[in-house]
């Protein structure tokens, strides 16, 4: 890993050096002119307006060419003048700007047109433009807050869905399950396999793929509990040993997924590029509205299940006081098993939702895990409703914090919030003092 990344770095430096040499020769030819065996070239210039209104090239922006499956065929990094070009064979490609590589305070003017589709025939040399600047909707001062709040609510709902399992597993077993993030990634990838890759040559639309994924995630969560954690509990393993094990599983699963999936980002075919609906004060893609409504339905369903069903009540009882629950006749192991199944299924669904609004990557779950921890800690570790409220607040906070801090560092805001909560009210909003000592 290290040596390969150093190799890539060396390669990049070499390319940059080559670009600099070509540049000083005064040739307008770009890097790709060296790639003579490519049939076609897609290229462009990324520029921004400086304070005096002059156009200046933006260096270091990463642009990649993907096919419909999300396989990467080439990538380019803009040089000092903002020029980029990728040599490709004939075909249809999605040209994607890595938004994370854009400099501070700069974003695409039409984020909907990223990725842009290009069709190349042999000998083609096509230009693709990605204008930079404030997105049109965001340009009005007061409105940006609303836009960010809507985005934040969406993120928060998804985090909440993922986090309920984390919190309930903690509540019922005392295990801080660091591998829960991988359940999220697993969900996103399982749906990708059914929907995009295909099983035995059969590919299905995303919606049935999601249903199957949720079932598989629930089942594998139950199996994971049964094969590993139930045994550890029976052996009386300490919680710290279990915590260290969960970290081990987290790393193992994560790198198995990297091994299988590769490091690039993947996308579902369905609901991929949608025009946003403009509501004046904010705009939102139809798919995001559907996701938010679905999330709310699922979360309300989970909350009522916890409140009104026998199993839900038993879960809360075990969470509250395991010994008392056991002595009043609740089959604790059965409750724990249900918590694992339900929690993993929800995490899997959350993973699919996250992949629909953003993209699939091998470490998406791990990144969300830390936001889940922030949400769960804010709400109160071990409480189901706390996880819900906390996560939504974290989601809002992440998005709204971009008003003050650069977008690429928005998650830092949530993590700083986590530290501050622990300072001020370590038991969280809904937690009780006794849990923390």
């Amino acid at each position: 890993m290290l040596s390969s990344s150093m190799f890539h770095r060396g390669l990049r430096l070499l390319l940059l050096a080559a670009a600099a040499i070509v540049g000083t020769l005064g040739a307008s030819a770009t890097i790709a002119s060296a790639q003579s065996d490519d049939e076609a070239i897609v290229k462009g210039t990324i520029t921004d307006t400086d304070d005096d209104g002059a156009r200046v090239g933006v260096a270091g922006v990463v642009i990649s060419a993907l096919d419909a499956e999300g396989t990467e065929f080439g990538r380019s990094t803009t040089d000092g003048d903002g020029n980029w070009s990728i040599g490709l064979s004939a075909g249809t490609y999605q040209i994607l700007v890595d938004v994370d590589s854009l400099p501070e305070g700069v974003s695409l003017r039409n984020p909907d047109k990223n990725p842009a589709e290009v069709r190349l025939i042999e000998g083609d040399e096509k230009s693709t433009l990605f204008p930079l600047g404030e997105a049109l909707v965001e340009s009005a001062g007061g409105v940006r807050v609303i836009q960010l709040a809507v985005d934040g609510l969406k993120v928060g709902l998804i985090i909440a869905m993922c986090a309920i399992g984390l919190s309930l597993i903690y509540g019922t077993t005392g295990l801080t399950n660091f591998a829960h993030g991988e359940a999220v990634t697993f969900g996103a990838m399982a749906a990708y396999v059914f929907h995009v890759v295909g099983v035995f040559g059969f590919r299905m639309p995303l919606i049935p793929a999601t249903v199957i994924t949720v079932v598989i995630c629930g089942a594998s969560g139950g199996l994971f509990n049964r094969l590993v954690w139930a045994k550890m509990r029976r052996r009386g393993a300490s919680l710290i040993a279990a915590l260290v094990m969960s970290i081990g599983f987290s790393i193992l699963f994560r790198y198995v997924m990297l091994f299988q999936f590769g490091g690039r980002a993947g996308f579902y075919d369905d609901f991929r590029l949608q025009t946003k609906w403009d509501f004046g004060v904010f705009s939102i893609a139809p798919k995001d509205i559907v996701l938010m409504v679905l999330s709310i339905v699922v979360l309300v369903g989970v909350a009522s299940a916890l409140q009104f069903t026998r199993m839900g009540k038993a879960m809360r009882a075990v969470s509250d006081n395991r010994d008392l629950a056991e002595s009043s006749g609740i089959d604790v192991e059965r409750v724990i098993s249900s918590v694992w199944i339900a929690g993993s299924a929800l995490a899997g669904l959350g993973g699919v939702f996250l992949a629909v609004t953003e993209s699939i990557s091998w470490d998406m779950g791990f990144r969300v895990l830390l936001l889940m921890f922030a949400g769960v800690t804010l709400g109160g570790l071990g409480t189901a409703y706390g996880a819900l409220f906390g996560s939504i607040i974290v989601g809002l906070f992440i998005q709204l914090s971009t008003l003050v801090i650069p977008t690429d560092m928005k998650n830092v805001g949530a993590l700083i919030m986590l530290v501050l909560i622990l300072l001020v009210r370590p038991q969280g909003l809904l937690g009780r003092r006794e849990r923390i000592g």
């Binding site: 890993m1 290290l2 040596s3 390969s4 990344s5 770095r9 270091g60 590589s101 854009l102 400099p103 501070e104 305070g105 801080t176 660091f178 550890m232 393993a237 300490s238 919680l239 710290i240 040993a241 279990a242 915590l243 260290v244 094990m245 970290i247 081990g248 599983f249 987290s250 790393i251 193992l252 699963f253 994560r254 790198y255 198995v256 990297l258 091994f259 791990f366 990144r367 830390l370 921890f373 922030a374 800690t377 650069p406 690429d408 560092m409 998650n411 830092v412 993590l415 700083i416 986590l418 530290v419 501050l420 622990l422 300072l423 370590p426 849990r435 923390i436 000592g437």
Partner: protein, 330 residues
Amino acid sequence: MDWGAILENTIRGLIGEQFIYFALAAIGLNIHFGFTGLLNFGQAVFMAAGAYGLSMAVATLGLNFWLGLVLGIIVFPLILALIMGVPTLRLRSDYLAIVTIAASEMFRIIARSPSLDRWTGSSDGLTGFANTFYELSPFDRSQRYFFGIFIGNQMWVVLVGWVAVVLVSVGVWAVLRSPWGRVLRAIREDEDAARSLGKNAYWFKMQALILGGVIGALGGMLRAIGTQSAQPQNFITDVTFFAWVALILGGVAKVGGPILGAAILYGILSFTDILLRQMVEAGIISTSVMDGTQVGQVRFMLIGLGLVLLAAFRPQGILGSKEEMALDDR
């Protein structure tokens, strides 16, 4: 298959640079976890503090190398320990775990952020801060040393590293036999009891966090010097768990544990790494199963699997004793 190269790489893993960086990180972790019972999952950030303390001082701010040394080994880890320790050390141990792992993620985001490129060099990191160190080298940089395994500059890093490992270990051994060290163990065994004897458990835990962090920072700084660059990907979250596996493998709460563990771990990792690479190159493993980049990922899978198996079946490691095992009695 080049068995000579395989042997050379394995020996290098057992005693070479990687071993030194992670032995130091694991010794620091041993103070945290082995002797005090603190669950620090952010040792990589302490390593990064050492690396970036030095490199930012020299490469970004243009300060003197020796001043950078002080910044990286003392000042940065101290600040970091306070930030992570103040909110969490009064709470139950898994809160420190969450905050330290969150700190690792914060480091990754901040260090890679292009908006701070001027300070940190973002994903490319910083270079050109270690010249003073190599100027002191008594070895000829064009020569090979130690049966031809290390070239001059590496030999210098390895020599300095070994001296550091030995000195730090002797220091840890001495410190932990002192009354101070006994208080740490008392806190690990029963914090309430230690507190009822009038010991300020919070403050002792903070001191342990700082001391272990400083040792980790030394490891990280040596890593930056050895690779002559401070890059975010060398200090990502998963790096912490190399130190954890080294620690648990060798034996928690034993002074020699981290050293033995790091040597064995890097022996195994270097061996499997070069073996797999050679097998891929020789076509024994077809590229449809695994290619060159994927070999690097196998190393992380082994770490994850190792952590699971050790925690489940032999939490006390090779040298450790079950009685002194913090994994079991808290």
